[in-house]
């Protein structure tokens, strides 16, 4: 519970609480004032999203204040949900069964054990090297050559995105930055807060000013106005949070820019996979947001890049 003794972390969490209260007040006012055509579906969706945000913030805050174990367990569960959504969506053949079983019950737990015990060297290579070859071997043992490359690639992609990339969020706890020992929970909060704010702000700017579609085929709801407004405002937010990080204000802003841009492309990539499979959302577990994968697609792409650049520039 050391995290609770960190006043900066408490300030950040209080700030999120204030934002949530304000969002709830605004949405309840909007819901109470239906337009000329009756209650709008956009407002209903907004209210559902805010309700789900309360739940997500409570769960995430609890994980954060319990320190390492809570965060590792929470992200392991999120990986599990995301991977099951991803694999459900991608066709597999009976010969993949052993490889899929290994992905869920061997690779996923082991990657988070490595994250939990903070064994960086093994953590960094386990999925790209050992799991990669293991999945290829398990899939070939089934003796089915049809679509072999596609089938194994899908499982390997699922493991990279849903497990390996996402595990870089709790792995932020193992980075040893001089003068910042015991405060890494704030880095975790930084990447999640900036990334998720960027998603929300892109949505808000898009709804307010959105005119020109940025990727009409891949993601019809994304607009240039939403993208630029969201990226700039979330980067400004990141810069404004420099006091809670080991960064100067401009470095915090640059990291936030990196997180938002990577997050945007993460959303676009995962969206391309959805369109290819002919669905709108990966699932329906989070009200108003779709599935787990729909909520964390941006995080999956921003967290590993943030992690490694942070390690490169700040660990001597």
């Amino acid at each position: 519970m050391n995290a609770l003794r960190d006043p900066q972390l408490l300030w950040l969490l209080s700030g999120i609480l204030v934002l949530l209260v304000i969002s709830s007040i605004i949405t309840s006012v909007l819901v109470g004032r239906p337009g000329p055509d009756g209650p709008s579906p956009t407002i209903a969706n907004l209210a559902a999203r805010v309700r789900a945000w309360w739940m997500m913030v409570i769960v995430f805050s609890l994980a954060l204040v319990t320190g390492g174990v809570g965060s590792v367990v929470l992200f392991a569960l999120m990986s599990f949900m995301a991977l099951r959504e991803f694999i459900t969506l991608t066709p597999s053949r009976p010969a993949d069964h052993l490889a899929l079983f290994a992905a869920f019950f061997m690779v996923l737990p082991f990657q988070y054990v490595l994250t939990g015990i903070q064994w960086y060297g093994f953590f960094a290579v386990f999925v790209p090297v050992y799991a990669f070859v293991a999945i290829a071997i398990f899939a070939v043992v089934g003796g089915d050559a049809a679509h072999y490359l596609e089938r194994t690639a899908k499982i390997q992609w699922g493991l990279m995105v849903c497990v390996y990339f996402l595990s870089h969020v709790p792995a932020l706890l193992m980075i040893e930055i001089p003068g910042y020992a015991g405060q890494n929970a704030k880095l975790l909060l930084f990447v999640v807060l900036v990334g998720q704010s960027s998603d929300v702000l892109q949505y808000v700017w898009g709804k307010l000013l959105g005119r020109h579609k940025v990727a009409p085929v891949l993601s019809p709801s994304k607009t240039w106005e939403g993208l630029i407004g969201g990226v700039l405002s979330a980067s400004a937010l990141g810069a404004a949070l420099w006091w809670a990080t080991p960064f100067t204000w401009w470095a915090a802003g640059l990291f936030a820019l990196l997180i938002t841009v990577m997050g945007f492309f993460g959303g676009l990539v995962m969206s391309a996979i959805k369109r290819d499979r002919g669905v709108k959302d990966y699932g329906s577990m989070i009200e108003g947001h779709g599935g787990m994968m729909d909520r964390i697609d941006s995080l999956c792409f921003s967290a590993p890049v943030f992690f490694h650049l942070l390690r490169y520039f700040y660990v001597p």
Partner: protein
């Protein structure tokens, strides 16, 4: 009745475990007929099929629904018998050497007459999960024996990927159970026409 409470409670926990393992959503009470008993019939590709359909039912229905399964398989060992009789209260039927004394229809009708609903798999055996096989005539005999009991199709999806034939290792993907409207009664229908219509109603619930 502390023991009975304990049993029904552990059945509730098992149902919740099965729903989480297979990611299947509980069927809303409104999607089911107003009153039972009825015969739920589903496509069959996994040992988990009957358990997941059972787990997806609302609790009041679940406590009064018994899966129908092959005696030859489920009486093999004490573990099989324990699962079939002890947990699921299965109606075990003879599949191979049917005589008057062990007529499956008699056993199923007895359960329906006692007020219990049934889960049946009219394909008779597990398929590959890619297509729904032809229906065996048993469901026609059953429907004719109890014309007032509603026949309700339930399409189970992805269970062939979660635990296909020939493996005991589950892969926790997201399964769905789609329930349809009860099959309407048609007078003077031939056996073949009935079986084709029942199968078509089930297949129609499949949304790719």
């Amino acid at each position: 009745m502390p023991i009975q409470f304990h049993i029904s409670n552990s059945r509730g926990i098992l149902a919740s475990f099965l729903r989480n393992l297979c990611g299947v959503r509980p069927l809303p009470l409104a999607a089911l007929p107003a009153s039972g008993p009825c015969i739920f019939y589903a496509n069959h590709s996994s040992h988990l099929d009957f358990a997941v359909l059972w787990a997806a039912l609302p609790e009041a229905w679940r406590e009064r629904t018994r899966p129908v399964a092959g005696r030859d398989y489920w009486e093999k060992t004490a573990v099989h018998r324990g699962i079939a009789y002890g947990i699921f209260r299965a109606v075990l039927i003879e599949r191979k050497h049917v005589t008057v004394a062990c007529n499956p229809i008699t056993a199923m009708c007895a359960a329906l007459d006692a007020g219990d609903s049934l889960i049946v798999f009219p394909e008779g055996t597990r398929g590959d999960g890619l297509s729904v096989g032809a229906f065996k005539p048993g469901i026609h005999h059953l429907a004719r024996s109890r014309p007032s009991v509603k026949l309700v199709p339930v399409f189970l999806e992805n269970l062939n990927r979660i635990m296909p034939k020939g493996t005991a290792l589950p892969v926790p993907l997201i399964a769905t159970a789609a329930i349809g409207a009860p099959l309407a009664a048609v007078d003077g229908e031939t056996k073949e026409a009935f079986l084709a219509r029942a199968r078509a109603a089930l297949v129609a619930l499949h949304t790719p």
